[in-house]
Every structure is written in C-alpha cells, then in structure tokens.
C-alpha cells in the first residue's frame, strides 16, 4: 500500500498516512485529486479504480471515505477488508466510532493504525492483539497522567 486517506463527504481530510516518500506539495496534489475523483463517484459504482499507475480501493462508512492506494500486483479485495478491519478497530476502541472521535482523538487513530499496518503492510490482523497493544499503552498513559498530580 502506498498511502491511506480518510476524508469526509465535504472533502475534509481527517487522516493521512503515507508509506512512500513524497514531498508535501505532491501529497497535497494527490489528496486534492483523489478526494475529487472519489467524491464524484456514485454510490453503486465499484470500489476500485485505476488512477495514475496505481489502483485505488475505497469504501464509505457513514460520512467518512476510507481510501487506499495500492500497487498493480496488490489484491483489491483484501485491501477492502483492511479498511473494514481498521474501521472495526476504531469502532471497538471508541465504542461506535463517529467522525468526531477521529477529529478530536486524531492521535489515537494514528496509533491504532500503526499497530495494525506498518510500512503499508498488515502487521497484526487479529483484532484482539491490536486492541491489547493499545490498551497496554493506555495503561501506561494513565500511570503517567496521574504522576504530575501526585
């Protein structure tokens, strides 16, 4: 996978993860182009499209679009399920996740993604294991947060 973007129906970027080195300018250009392309597609259309020399896999969940760019040999359907698994992870962590959770806790969304995908490849596909890792980190966090007041 080369990158993953989360954006709203209004075209606001909510999360961006790049697995290939690109300049900020290039990233902005790609984002603009893709958001436009994907938002223009009708609901019943297929979830895959060719874009430049990449394949785009996208899916809409409520008001959010999840959009991944994969390479020619990569598997479209399994990418679609990567998106779904990530949504499940967010959902489980936040408790029926909504766009606001991702806006206000954007750093958590990034941490969860890093546990699940690394370098653009699935690192840990077990939901339990990913959430366990995040929970452990949160426990550490609690300890730390309580330190200054004590």
């Amino acid at each position: 996978m080369q990158f993953m973007l989360l954006f709203s129906r209004q075209g606001k970027l909510r999360l961006q993860k790049w697995y290939v080195p690109l300049s900020d300018k290039e990233k902005k250009k790609i984002t603009r182009e893709l958001v436009q392309t994907v938002l223009a597609r009708k609901p019943k259309m297929c979830s895959f499209l060719e874009w430049r020399d990449l394949k785009i896999v996208y899916k809409r969940y409520a008001s959010l679009y999840f959009c991944c760019a994969i390479e020619d040999q990569d598997n479209e359907l399994i990418t679609l399920e990567i998106i779904h698994r990530y949504v499940e992870l967010l959902d489980k962590y936040f408790g029926s996740v909504c766009e606001l959770d991702i806006i206000f806790n954007f750093e958590k969304a990034y941490f969860i993604l890093d546990e699940f995908l690394l370098g653009g490849e699935a690192q840990e596909t077990s939901k339990k294991n990913v959430l366990k890792a995040i929970e452990q980190a949160d426990l550490l966090q609690e300890v730390c947060c309580s330190l200054p007041s004590s």
Binding site: L13, E76, L77, E81, F106, G119, A133
Partner: protein, 998 residues
C-alpha cells in the same frame, strides 16, 4: 474500553479543535490558527521551562495544525525533547510528530536517531515498538544508515517479543524498499525464512511481507521459503474455521496471511519437487472448490475475504501458467463472476481474465465468454468496469473473433466516455491491422474510426493507414474508392480529408475510369473541403493537387487556376504560399516526363513497428499493454523461469529473434514491388522514402528553396536531386540524416541495455535476403542502417552509421573486404567515410556493387573507431546476396512449364524439404517471394496453395534464368522448395538463401 483512554487530559487541545470547528470561514480559521501559533511560539521561547505535559500539548496542537494543511516551521526541537521523556505518553506524541513532520535538518536527525537508539536498546517492548514504528514511518536514508544493521538483529534474536518481531519485520521491509543498498544480506536471512514456521500467526503475517519483498530482489537467497510457504498455506486452507481463533475473519481462515503466502509464491516458478508441487496444487484446488460451496455468512466481509484468497490463487495459477486444468477451472470461476451481482467482482473478473487470455492454455476458454463481455460493455453503468471490458476484449482478440470485437468496439466508441476514447481508437486500429486478412476491411474500419471519433484519431493512426495502403497494391483501388465515397459526406472530419487527399493524390487514377469519380470530380470534391481545413491539411491538399496534375493532365488547367488564385499565391501563410508558387511553376515548366519522375508514386515504406502500438504502450506504460499475441508467445517461451516478471518479459521482447518479432508485430511484410526503375533513380541521391510527416508537414525552407521558381527544368535535373518531389535535396544533408533516423527509429532489434556489446557479425544477415532496407547492426554505441537498390548486375548500398552516444567517434573508418575468391566474383567499392562522427549524428557511406559472376560468400564490413580513447572493432557481414541481382520475369503457365522441363537435368534442380520456422501465412510468403526478387506467377501451378516464381540473375558475364516452386504443407508444417536454374551453383545458393526465410 475505559473511558479515560479517550481523553488523556489535553483539555487545551480539545478546546482548540472545537474553536477551529466553530470557525465560520476560512479566514476565521486562519486567524484562530495564527493566534494559536503565536501563543505556542511565545511559550516555547519563554524563559520559563515548560513541563512535559505542556510541551506535549503544544506539540500536539502543532501537529493538528499541520494536518489541517498549514505549514509548520518550528516545534521540531520540542518534539525531539519529548522523545527522551520517560513518560510514555509524551514519548508517543513526540514520535508521532517526528513521523509526520520529518525534517532533514541534520542536527535533529542525529538527536532523533539517538533517542531511537536508546529506545531500541531499552528492552521495553512498548518503547521498542514506538521506535521501530518511527523508523518504518520515516524510512529515510539517514535512518537506514543508522539502523539497517540493528533491526535484523532484533528481528531474529531469540528473546525478542512477538509484537516487536512483527514491527521489526515490517520496519526492515520499509528500509529495504527505500534504501535497498543499505540493508545488508547476511546470516539473518536464513533465519528470517524460518519465521514462516513461527507459532504466532501475527509474526508469520508480518514476516511473509518482508520475505516477499526480499525474494523479489534476491530470489536465490530465499528459495527455501517456497516449501515453507506451501506447508503453511496448506495448513491454513485445510483448517477448520475455528482453529485459527482470532485470525479467522468472518469464517475465512487467515485471509491476509493466505493472500501474502500466495503472493510470495508468485516470486518463483512452480516448485520442482513433485511432493511440494502436488501439495500446492491441492491447496489451489481446495481454494477453487471452496468458491463453489455455499457461503458461511451473508456478510460481504465473508465473501470479500474468501474471494480475495481466490483471486490471489488465480493469480498464482496464471503466473505458473503450467497446469491447464487449473487454468481452465480458474477461467470458469471468473466466468461465473462476470455475471455476479456485485460490481466489484465483475470488475475483478474482467481484470483477471485479461491475464488469463494471454496464456495459451486458457485463451480459448476465455474466448467463450465473449458475449458476456460484450454485454458488459453495453450495460455496465460504471465506466471503470466498462474500461476493463474493453481491455479484456482487446486481450481475447485473435483472428477468429477480430471482426466481431472490432465491430463491437466501434459501436461502443460512439457513446464511450471521452476519457477512454483515444485508447479505444488505438486499440481498434491495432486489432484491425493485426488481424486483417482482408485489407478492405482494415481500410473500412479505420475510416469508420475517423468518422466516429475523428478528434481522437491521433496522427499515428492515420499515418499508419497510409503506410499500409502505400505498401499493399491490392488495396489501393479499394482505398481510393472508399475515401472518395466517404468524402461525399457534407461534414467530414479533417483527418478524413488528410487521408483522402493523400490517397487520391497517389491512387486517384485507379478510380478515374468511372465517370462518377472522374479526375475533375475528385479534384472538386477535395477542393470543396479545402477552405474548412487547417494550414497543415491545406498544405497536404496542395501536394495532392500537384500530384493530380501528373496523374490527370486533363485537370492541369483547373488546378493551375486554383494555384494561381490570390488566395494561394498571396496566402498569408508562408508555407502555403511557397507551395502554391513552387507547384504552379513546376507544373508550367516541367515536361510530362520530368513531372512523372518528380511526382512519382510514393515508394513502399520500410517495415517498422506499428507506431500506434508504440503510442499505446507509451500511454499505458510499458508492459501494461502488450501486443496480445506477442504476449502469448512470450509467456509460453518464458515459462516462469522469471522471478521478476515484468523485466524479463521486457528483455525477452528486446532480444527476441528479430524475424519472429517482425512477423508478430503488426508490420506489413516487405513488399519490394517491381517498379519501373527510372533512369533518375540511379542518380547519386538515394530514393528516400520519406516519413509521412515530411509529406504532411511544411517543407523546410531549405527544401523549399530547392524548387526555386527561377531555376529551369534543366537545373533541377543537373542538380541530380529531383528524383521525386519527396526526396530530400542534397543541399540539406542534415535534414536527410534526421529523416532517415526516423525511418529507422522504431523497428530496430535493440540489444537490451546493460547487455555486453557482443559483436555478432551476421545476426541480422538473413533478414535482408528478402528486403533491402533496415537495421543491420546495433549495439550500445553504434547503429548501422542499410538502404540498397539493385538493377541488373549493379547495386548501390547506403550505409548509415548512427552514433548513439553523446560523444564523438574519432578515427572512424569503414571498409569492405571480399575474402578469398569473392573478389573475383563481386566488386564492392566503398567511398571513404568521414573520420569523425559527432555524438548523436549519423554518417552516410555509399557502396557501389557490381556482380561479376555468381557467388556464395558475403563481403564483410569492417568498422574501426575510437570511443572515449578505446579502439572499437566491429565486423558485420554485408547482406549482399546473389538474389539481389534478380530481375523478375512474368510468364504464363505454358511458358513456365516448358522452361521447367528444359531445366530438367539433375544437377540443375535443387530441392529442399524443411520445417516451417514461422507461421504459414500465405500473404507473408507471397511478400517474401516477391522480396526475394522473382516475379510471383499467379495461376501457373494447378494447386492454388503452391507458389511459383521466375526471374533472371544478372551478372556481368552471364544471365541465369531461374524458376522457383514452393509447396507448403500446412498440416505437417513443412515446405518443399524446388529451384531449377541453368547453373547448379546458382540453384544451390538460391535454395540455401530462400529456404531460411519460411
């Protein structure tokens, strides 16, 4: 999940985010952000040392601002400070900031690397993971330099926690992708392979990705992964869905890992070990069987995961391309998906079938779905799906269904989305040319293309139709008639006017006998379009007019009238004006003979790769749009020895035996039509078939000035250059060279880049037996092109030496040696060549050849030059063969058999029976026999599938009559070739030469 995890106390951040969300306008947002930035800046600069919490909060705010799309130019130092905090939450935010906003400031990188190093050696798995994630996210060269040795150690160390192993594997993968040169292979590689056996499926999942990436680059080092991957895959596909616990996803066992394992196996050919191979085949069969089972869940996630594995298995089957039953089963499975109600599956089935179509085992099976695919083209509502259908139709096209597919694509073109029209036009043009049995169909198809989608018909397409019509005399009359009819339409596309102008200018005479298309009517028709056309088209039409003057003396007055009108002679466009002036003057002063010579019909174009195919390749990127049939042959020639598929295919293509390449490429067979050789054509200037561009594009000023109004006809002649209107005047040798470069540009069998420059003296020799022009030799430095013409026992060869480098060749010499007895049989006189060839330039050398008596050996061209101080020696066998001195002889059946009997003595006949080396296409065979130099005699042999020819070899001392008979046996894929001549040595030599060509 505990509620506390959602907010960890950064209230300031939440307030700030709310503020931003409440901003009514972009301006308000920017104002709020600037206020915040000023606040943070003052905090960071302030005297009071910030506590960790505040630092974390401000860094997080900066990060948020950056992710909103604003530039951030400070705060990096504070983020780096957070890295060394011993509070996890601060460290985590610091790493996140660094991952998102990497700065190549070298001081910071050093500090960051230091912090990472500390965390990696902390032995705290959570900290180690944070550090590894950071390396994987940033992946810069500096990090690769610092950690490429450390990460593998962590990966294979016995006491590393599983979760750290997973991060380390993918971290290494990222470093290997960005800086492969910095990741050393070593003792760890063998141990990485064994991670495929790990108990923890998460570790296997991460490791498989890493191994795949490494195996693509170093297949030999990771060969052992094949058997381990097969074993693992087998355990997964046969497991009960509950066995793998949380790695089962919607009742599908470890779909991600399965896909990755199947992907890894695609780095290798089918396993050689029969047991492993059998186990893999079982796995693939099980996966195919599962597709037929009823779904275990109605959820789309279940079917997606299951089908993801299925599609990857099919990819592997296609990659192996060795098990016909699996290929056909895969094809049937995809056939079912073609009609599935899920658009996604229909899309993927079309895509996957495209690759199946290129396997010879499944090509026929794919073809059975043609109706479904055509239907998809008509009914799919999503353009991306229709695009896949077009691709598949293109891939499944062959001679048997070409007419249907081309017709369907044409009808789709009428309503196709603008974004894909040009591509469809190119595809139709390629298929029509490639599978044309009947060239009238080809001409019709291209004219239809222009009619339906004229704006999307690029120049390559209409140039190509002209090249084909010029090269094939059997279609010229039909083409003239068809364009004439097409031009009747009140509104026709400018591209049609161009094709029409060109074709009528060349071949209008072929339909002039019909009173409905008399010369005057033809001219008026063309001229009625003139005023609506752009300048380049008008220029082309003016050239067509002057050609008309030659073809039809009766319309000379009318055309001169048009040329003389003020709108032409005083046209504001200098090109049009110049053409009008020159053509008018030429038509006034030149005699009919001179006009006939100057305006002679265009000579055939040298064979070359279709420029359209080149364009399609360029459009889609190399490798993605292979010529369908080429691809089929290549795949079977290349059964999976390849690990890096795309690059080996490219090499195979480049180095494929050139003649096969020629036959498969949609290139016309060489047709050296016996044309009347006018005395002028033996003047020093070569009869240069110019590229069409030269015809359509403005004549360059220097070329134009050659036809100076003031110069009398005798001057034109004495300049010795007016052999045709289209030849380049000798006063512009540079232009001539560049045009020749173009002629040679596409069809050369270029040696693969990076291959050592092996000097094989005669690799292209036999290609020239039946043709006179082309590329004789090519290496990384030099390209040698030939053009030659022969008349009776004399010949002239133009040798073009192209310097492919950007530096000069010094001390360049090229000489011809006739070894042994050859010098008494053949005289070759080479004019000395210029001793210096500039970088990128082309040098021309002329050879005069005289055949004294019949000969067998070939002269050798020796070339020497200095390139970068090193002396280069190249010797090439010159394709001067006995058959070049043929003059074709037409004769009737009775005549032929009478002579055949006369040459009945046993030593006069030579016969050879041989296996066909190329496909037995009768059009190609005919073209080769004509190219060989004899007249092809129709209706002489009672068996119409046999070929019979006759000609006379001219040498200085004698003439040798020669009769040829070629009997193909399609069933046995054999030929019998019989030659009878009055001299045994000639019979033998000609038989040897010709029998190599089929």
């Amino acid at each position: 999940m505990p509620a506390v995890s959602k907010g960890d106390g950064m209230r300031g951040l939440a307030v700030f985010i709310s503020d931003i969300r409440n901003c009514k306008s972009k301006e308000a947002e920017i104002k709020r952000i600037n206020k915040e930035l000023a606040n943070i800046r003052s905090k960071f600069k302030g005297d009071k040392a910030l506590d960790g919490y505040s630092k974390k909060k401000y860094v997080c705010k900066l990060l948020f601002i950056f992710l909103l799309g604003h530039d951030i130019d400070f705060g990096h130092m504070e983020a780096v400070n957070l890295l060394s905090s011993n509070k996890y939450t601060e460290k985590q935010i610091g790493y996140l900031f660094i991952s998102v906003l990497v700065n190549s400031n070298s001081d910071l990188i050093r500090l960051i690397n230091n912090a990472i190093k500390n965390d990696l050696s902390s032995r705290n798995p959570t900290f180690m993971n944070l550090a590894l994630h950071c390396i994987a996210n940033v992946g810069s060269r500096e990090m690769a330099e610092a950690f490429a040795a450390e990460v593998p150690r962590i990966l294979v160390a016995g006491d590393t926690m599983d979760s750290v192993k997973q991060s380390a594997a993918l971290c290494l993968l990222r470093l290997n992708r960005t800086s492969p040169d910095l990741v050393p292979m070593g003792e760890w590689t063998a141990r990485v392979v064994h991670l495929l056996n790990d108990q923890h499926l998460g570790v296997v999942t991460a490791a498989t990705s890493l191994i795949t990436t490494l195996a693509q680059k170093n297949p030999d080092d990771f060969k052992t992964s094949v058997s381990l991957a097969v074993a693992r895959l087998s355990r997964i596909v046969t497991s009960a869905s509950t066995d793998l616990q949380d790695y089962t996803y919607y009742f599908v066992a470890a779909p991600w890992l399965s896909v990755k394992l199947l992907r890894l196996l695609q780095c290798y050919p089918p396993p050689e070990d029969a047991a492993i191979r059998g186990r893999l085949t079982e796995c693939l069969e099980t996966i195919l069987n599962k597709a037929q089972e009823p779904p275990k869940s109605k959820k789309v996630q279940h079917s997606n995961a299951k089908n993801a594995v299925l599609f990857e298995a099919i990819s592997l089957i296609i990659h192996h391309d060795s098990e016909p039953t699996l290929l056909v089963r895969a094809c049937n499975q995809l056939g079912q998906f073609l009609q599935h109600r899920e658009t996604n599956l229909r899309y993927l089935a079309l895509e996957s079938m495209c690759t199946l179509a290129s396997s010879e085992f499944s090509h026929e099976a794919v073809k059975t779905h043609i109706e479904t695919v055509i239907n998809a083209l008509k009914t799919e509502r999503d353009v991306s799906v229709r695009q896949r259908a077009v691709d598949l139709l293109y891939a499944m096209c062959d001679r048997s269904n070409a007419k249907q597919i081309v017709a369907e694509m044409l009808s789709y073109l009428e309503t196709a989305d603008y974004s894909i029209r040009e591509e469809i036009v190119l595809k139709v043009a390629i298929l029509a040319e490639k599978y044309a049995v009947d060239y009238t169909w080809y001409v019709d198809t291209i004219l239809n293309l222009i009619r339906i989608a004229g704006d999307y018909v690029s120049e390559e397409v209409w140039y190509r139709v002209i090249q084909i019509v010029i090269n094939r005399d059997d279609v010229q009359g039909y083409a003239a008639k068809t364009v004439f009819e097409a031009l009747q339409a009140p509104a026709c596309h400018e591209n049609l006017v161009k094709v029409g102008g060109y074709i009528l200018g060349e071949f209008g005479n072929l339909i002039a006998g019909d009173p409905r298309s008399s010369p005057l009517i033809q001219f008026n028709l063309l001229h009625s379009k003139f005023h609506l056309c752009s300048v380049p088209t008008r220029a082309l039409l003016l050239s067509a007019y002057i050609k008309f003057i030659n073809l039809f003396p009766e319309v000379k007055g009318t055309i001169q009238e048009v040329l003389r009108s003020d709108s032409q002679l005083r046209n504001a466009d200098v090109e049009l004006q110049q053409r009008a002036v020159e053509y008018l003057r030429l038509s006034c002063i030149a005699s009919t003979d001179i006009l006939a010579t100057v305006l002679e019909e265009m000579p055939p174009f040298p064979e070359r790769e279709s420029s359209i195919l080149a364009k399609l390749k360029k459009k889609k990127g190399p490798g993605t749009v292979p010529d369908p049939e080429d691809n089929r042959k290549e795949r079977c020639a290349n059964i999976n020895g390849a690990t890096n598929h795309s690059s080996t295919t490219a090499n195979a293509k480049a180095s494929a035996p050139s003649f096969i390449g020629d036959l498969l490429a949609p290139v016309l067979p060489p047709i050296n039509r016996p044309r009347p050789v006018s005395s002028l054509s033996l003047l020093p200037t070569p009869l240069t078939p110019l590229s069409l561009q030269a015809y359509a594009m403005p004549l360059s000023p220097s070329a134009g000035s050659h036809f100076q109004v003031s110069s009398p006809a005798s001057d034109l002649l004495s300049l010795g250059s007016a052999s045709t209107l289209n030849s380049t005047p000798p006063s512009a040798p540079k232009a001539s060279a560049s045009l020749l470069v173009d002629v040679f540009s596409d069809n050369s069998p270029t040696a693969p880049i990076g291959a050592p420059a092996v000097v094989v003296a005669d690799e292209n020799f036999s290609r020239f037996v039946c043709k006179n022009n082309g590329v004789l030799f090519e290496n990384q430095l030099l390209q040698i092109g030939l053009k030659s013409e022969y008349r009776q026992n004399l010949g002239r060869m133009y040798v073009f030496y192209g310097n492919k480098t950007s530096t000069q060749f010094h001390n360049f010499t090229a000489s011809v040696v006739c070894q042994d007895g050859l010098n008494s049989q053949l005289n070759v006189h080479a004019k000395p060549a210029d001793p210096m060839v500039e970088g990128g330039a082309q040098l021309q050398q002329t050879l005069n050849i005289e055949c004294l008596s019949d000969f067998v050996e070939a002269p050798v061209l020796n070339i020497q030059f200095r390139y970068g101080g090193i002396l280069q020696n190249i010797s090439v066998k010159l394709p001067v063969t006995l058959n070049k001195f043929f003059q074709p002889t037409e004769m009737g059946s009775q005549d032929f058999f009478q002579r055949w009997k006369q040459l009945g003595a046993p030593q006069q006949e030579v016969q050879k029976i041989f296996k066909a080396m190329y496909s037995m296409d009768s059009e190609v065979t005919k073209a080769k026999i004509i190219g060989f130099g004899v007249a092809l005699l129709d209706g002489v042999d009672p068996n119409p599938s046999n070929f019979v020819g006759a000609g006379v070899i001219h040498t200085k001392t004698s003439q040798v009559g020669c009769l040829i008979r070629l009997e193909p046996n399609a069933q046995a894929q054999m030929y019998r070739l019989t030659l009878r001549t009055s001299r045994d040595t000639v019979s033998q030599r000609l038989c040897d030469l010709l029998s190599d060509q089929f």
